[in-house]
């Protein structure tokens, strides 16, 4: 392919073949869950939608090699969480959302303001705890809570399925410790 530099400033149409014959089924199977993972990471509906579409756009353009559905899921959720964490870091959303989580939840819900305030406090606290944990543990908890199986989690993290239980137990213990410490500060 030859691209002349003066054409680079514009937009270069390039059809990229989708190498996944079962792309539609994969999209249907994973769309909601990919969104859910990203929403839990970002606490921002628009951003989560945008990145979820980005994940499937990447899948369509560069289908990964995968031997089974778990490997594919591993790729999808690894890309999703990496995009999510990168977005958090790049925009320093972590801090901003910790401050804004309550306001956003209050603004977006029309039910009892007291309930919503309590929920938003809890959301803020949980996000803060996850932010203090190492990425892998936080990622593991969010993905497990989002419904990924041990085999899928193993594919995401690149570890043996047999070690997921241990990693989860450790992550939950760390979460509880951090959470209770934060409660003690209040």
């Amino acid at each position: 392919m030859t691209v002349k530099a003066d054409n680079l400033s514009g937009e270069t149409a390039r059809a990229v073949p989708n190498r996944l014959p079962d792309f539609e089924a994969i999209f249907q199977q994973h769309w909601g869950r990919v969104y859910g993972v990203l929403f839990r990471l970002l606490n921002d509906r628009d951003q989560a939608e945008e990145l979820a579409i980005e994940v499937f756009w990447r899948l369509h353009r560069q289908a990964p090699r995968h031997d089974d559905e778990h490997a594919l899921a591993g790729w999808l959720y690894r890309v999703a969480t990496n995009l999510g964490f990168n977005t958090l870091r790049a925009s320093k959303r972590r801090e901003r959302y910790e401050q804004a989580a309550g306001e956003q939840a209050l603004a977006s819900a029309g039910s009892d303001p007291a309930d919503e305030a309590e929920r938003s406090d809890e959301r803020e606290r949980v996000r803060r705890v996850l932010a203090q944990m190492n990425n892998r543990s936080a990622q593991l908890l969010i993905l497990r809570h989002s419904g990924l199986s041990y085999a899928e989690l193993a594919a995401v993290l690149g570890v043996a399925p047999g070690s997921i239980g241990t990693l989860l137990a450790r992550a939950e213990q760390e979460f509880e410790k951090q959470y209770r410490a934060m409660e003690g500060e209040r």
């Binding site: 691209v3 530099a5 756009w57 892998r136 809570h145």
Partner: protein, 387 residues
Amino acid sequence: MHLTDGDLRAFLDQELNPADQERVNTLLTDAAATHQRAETLQGRAAWVGERLAALDPLPTETPITMMAARERLQQRLAEPQKETKMSNMRFARQTRLPWAGLAAVLVLAVALAFPPVRAAATQFLGLFRVQQISVVPVDAENVEQLLGSTSDLEQMLTSSVQVEVLGEMQEVANAAEAREASGMNVRLPAAIAETPQLRVQPGAEMRFNVDLPRVRAVLDELGLSEVELPDSLHGETITVNVSAAVAAAYGNCALDEVSEDLDEINRDCTILTQMPSPSISAPPDLDIAALGQAYLQVLGMTPEEARQFSETTDWTTTLVLPIPRFDTDYQQVTVDGVTGTLIERNFEDGHAPAYLLVWVKDGIIYGLRGVGDGSGPESLEIANSLQ
């Protein structure tokens, strides 16, 4: 040992022989402790689940329908692929070259092909081959500002540079496939047992057609009018050849992020990139040192500093990597049997430090990047275990 009801009944009545009585007692005690642990784990898992449920989308936070999402994706796929302007790419990457891993070498090769660094004459006999790497701390913002101050530069690059990408990016399963796809002997670290994600990034050929009056105008704008370029350069073409590179990602990283900033690297991600040295055609009678000095001045050195640095640099074999002056340390280290450079970046915002270890061996440039200060045994152990 499986316990029957009879065993248990006898145990309760202490009718078993002492050895069996003790064995059953141990089993029951262990089982009770195990049961207690399982209950604790179950309770904690449920408790954490209840806390995490606070992150679940509210009814008002559910995404658009699957059909709408699919439609948006389709629109996105139908959009023409946006490419980065050559000049913008250069300016943006200039500030973060070391952190972009060896993908940055490709960009740097373009920078080296740029007239302040190299120019061409009628015969291209002299070749640039990387044998060693030097780093130059630069004030990235000043460089960007300087390069951005000339409107002619962008015009010149967009009208005079052609890029030919040689093949397509491929994900491969193992070193043998990577070798076949890249054409080089791919080495992977024995110190990491994990199977890496492997990506072969295609090579490229870049051609710069020298429009000498325009080059001189750009140099004037940059305050480098003292750089002398022979008239014979006009109309000549400089060619930069960049071979295919292989990236191996270990841990929790997505290969899509391989060429991005080290600032963005995941905490548990380590990436090894390797590629043959790029080559740049250059005329044998060109005053490379003078052009190197000009390059260094663009990077912010005074003319005297640039002269001193240039005098000790073999510009035909040295890749000069600009690194951010602030928050960045570097040192020479012995790695893989040769001398390499360990660049460490510290972040003000609490990120763990990130490192890039670069070295050249047998004509191949290697870059290992990860999180940590890089001075510990891990990075060197990885690098020294390549096979």
